[in-house]
Amino acid sequence: MAVNPNKIYIDLPKYGNDQIIGVFTNTLSLAAPTLSGGYTSATDVRAHGFGDSAYFEGIFTTDGGTTWNTFGSQTPTLGAPGPTFQTVDVSATVTITNVNVSIFNNYDISHSIGNAYTVTYKLYLIAKNTMAKPITPIKTSNKLLYASKYNYQKIFMKGSVALIVSAGTTGTSTLITHNLGYVPKIRAYYYNLSVSSTTVNRFGQEPQTQITATTLQFYSDQSGLRPGISYVIDYRIYLDT
């Protein structure tokens, strides 16, 4: 069907989308760890050229692309005498110059096994709430950025909050009220001010999120011998249920 372009109108969206500004992928081989060594590891450092850090989402596969997991996922080795997690651990940070991907292949002490793995990762860089410089996205071979059959995530709210918790205590950030009436999807990243105010970190065990149908709050447990934290957290709350 031919369409007259003079009859096409664009309905500008009320809510913005995430803006993916670059994709990095690579395949790395990790040798089998030994009991004495404990682990083998690989690091992949890639320059992104933005002059500022960026948010990111990462996925990886250890089975040649059949199944993908998000960075931080822990696929266990089950069976007697007990389950073992963290056999392959993939994480990353993004600085103002580089993407830094770290992969650890840990020895499974419970089952006395060390396996070699080939790990392929994909890392999506996302423009921050505020970028220090104009963005020129890293070119890809993709012909279409949007496919209308998908409902793209729409950003309902975004912002930054501090999460400062002293050693030996627990604490929360300012309570963020969204009043959506349902539990929304979110993304959040933190800057560890004791290390770098610009390097973007993806959430791991700490800090944690507490989401309700009306609010979002960030929590950290620094009780016991934990050293305390001084974080700034950038968050996005999505409209989509």
Partner: protein, 133 residues
């Protein structure tokens, strides 16, 4: 100029993540006493959700403990204060494998005495997002 709409649907300078698939699933951990330094688990919640190339998000809620939903960036650990000084730790791990999403939950006694664990239902939501590249 005529446009073939079978080829061009929309254009833009940037793109985000497309909502693709989601599932809700749960597992209930019965109330029980847990001896010193012991652990129970895994209590596995799972559902069919094949992740062949997608960015994911997993959220869970521990009813019986509180009403919050929490992001699970692979692993989450909650230290639960109990009566007196007794505490226990609730840990959940999430992963995709063989066409399904899994959340494995363990509870360990972190105190110096037997603790009573309340009935906990681990409610989970998992999402797949299509990335455009």
């Amino acid at each position: 100029m005529a446009i073939n709409t079978n080829i061009i649907l929309a254009t833009s300078g940037f793109s985000g993540f497309g909502n693709y698939k989601s599932v809700s699933f749960s597992v209930t951990i019965p109330s029980q006493n847990l001896a010193i330094f012991n652990y129970i688990g895994p209590y596995t919640a799972s559902a069919a959700l094949n992740n062949s190339n997608a960015v994911t998000e997993v959220q869970l809620q521990y009813t019986g403990l509180d009403s919050f939903w929490r992001e699970v960036p692979g692993y989450i650990s909650i230290i639960v204060p109990n009566a007196g000084a007794a505490t226990y730790e609730v840990q959940s791990f999430t992963y995709f494998k063989n066409g399904s999403v899994y959340v494995d939950t363990y509870i360990s006694n972190q105190s110096g005495s037997t603790v009573t664990i309340p009935a906990i239902t681990v409610n989970c939501r998992a999402f797949l997002f299509i990335a455009p590249f």
